[in-house]
Symmetry: C2
Subunit: 254 residues, 2 copies
DNA sequence: GGCGGTTGGTCGGCATTGTCGACCCTCATC
DNA sequence: GATGAGGGTCGACAATGCCGACCAACCGCC
């Protein structure tokens, strides 16, 4: 792969830095964090600001991400075929199951949520579209890791952080989890990511039968589980939904 | 303003082009649209792809926006102070009014929706966070135009497109609308943007008493209006909400 | 109130870096 | 199998963006 454009790589690093460091950052912070000269950093920030990717607090001079990113992120969703096809099916899934439904795709070292249907009861819920979830502990992540070789590599290279006391952190144990996931065709997460929260997910395939994402639902363990783990009716609903979306994408019948 | 970084400007233009042209674009399309050499364009696209801002369909070679934009756009929301403060108040607004609540800020030549609370009845609704609305025909836009000089300039430079038969398109007429908005402290939109839809909005101020955004609600004209226009109780609810958010931002009492 | 130590921001010389356009390769189409 | 259109590569050239020294404003501290 021939050389990439240096200034673009640096600009992307700036954006990622601003996205990571929760609060606003000053010019010098950015420059030193990236090991760049102040003048260089300023040029990048100035251009990014002009384009709307970065905003500057007038009073303090600190920088933060800009509104244009939100607009472009939204445009990304508009074009996203998988999401478009899944809209109606995930809606049904949430309605019939009574839980929140999610659609996720592999992105970098995690699962990027591209669609989220609120749990039907109207409690206060925050939209998680655009958020990332870990590959190794969530149902969506396990499904992607089990069926998508790229995700498999990603999770193998990273470390299996213990998020709760039930998170699977051993490499061999995790391998068995993936085998189980592949064998039964769906993945689960029993309080392995958040205490008291369980999730189920199943893979979505495109017209070439390649895994392109996962749909699932997440809810309080008291509602989602019974004595044997995830309730069978929820597993069936999730798998039906995944099949429906896959068929919609042209994967044909199973 | 000293020179900006050329390659960054071009990359931003590429992203905007991909965001605008609904469907995926090929390398040659992008190059010719921007008047760049193919080699140059390819370098930009390659780098953007490497950074996750652009994805390439493996089969056709066409390019589209990438997932990283969604993630960064979400991070933008996390940092957004106005939105954070407004979360709880807009929630109350939607609950008490029974309509969908919106929070918008000025971005380029329009209103960028940074928060959206669904109408409490659980019909199928699409989230509009990240979407843009026109300045001259929506309640949010009119409020921004009336109270924010920058927005005022933006709308004066653009043209007042007729979106419905009731859209105000004359420059003088629109000036009167802004005067009215300023005089009564809130803005409205009676089927000027979408047929059958009305909206109300009021300005939000920061600690220096500068207008930084607008909150409002939108709904079917049959529910939102009575014989005299927007129902007084909804106007009051919106203005209360705007005041509450402003106070939360440190604007002090009115 | 002077004074170091911040901070964001600017400028000009240098060579690195990105640009250009010709060229290649693959895949449909005819 | 010729043809054309599309994505992708390459290498020479010079325009471009990079660096580091330099300002100007601000803050807190003697």
């Amino acid at each position: 792969m021939p050389g990439s454009i240096q200034s673009l790589e640096r600009a992307a690093a700036v954006l990622r830095l601003l996205a990571g460091g929760e609060r606003r950052l000053g010019l010098s912070d950015v420059a030193s964090s990236l090991g760049l000269a102040k003048g260089t950093t300023h040029g990048i920030l100035r251009t990014l600001q002009q384009e709307g990717f970065v905003e500057q607090e007038p009073v303090s001079g600190k920088y933060q991400l800009g509104a244009e990113l939100l607009r472009l992120g939204n445009s990304y969703l508009d074009v996203h075929e998988l999401r478009a096809r899944a809209l109606v099916w995930t809606d049904d899934l949430a309605r019939s199951s009574g839980e929140a439904a999610y659609l996720g795709v592999l992105h970098q070292h995690g699962v990027l949520i591209v669609h989220h249907v609120f749990r039907p009861d109207d409690g206060r819920q925050v939209l998680e579209v655009g958020a990332m979830q870990p590959l190794h502990s969530t149902a969506l992540g396990k499904v992607l890791s089990a069926f998508d070789p790229v995700a498999r590599n990603e999770v193998a290279e990273g470390e299996l952080a213990a998020l709760t006391s039930r998170t699977v952190t051993g490499a061999d144990d995790f391998e068995s989890v993936l085998d189980l996931t592949r064998a039964r065709g769906w993945g689960s997460d029993l309080e392995e990511t958040w205490d008291g929260v369980a999730s189920v997910a199943a893979p979505v395939y495109d017209r070439r039968r390649m895994p392109v994402g996962a749909v699932g639902l997440t809810g309080a363990v008291e509602r989602v589980c019974d004595a044997d783990g995830i309730q069978a009716r929820l597993v069936a609903a999730v798998r039906d939904c995944a099949r429906a979306v896959s068929r919609d994408l042209g994967a044909g019948r199973f």
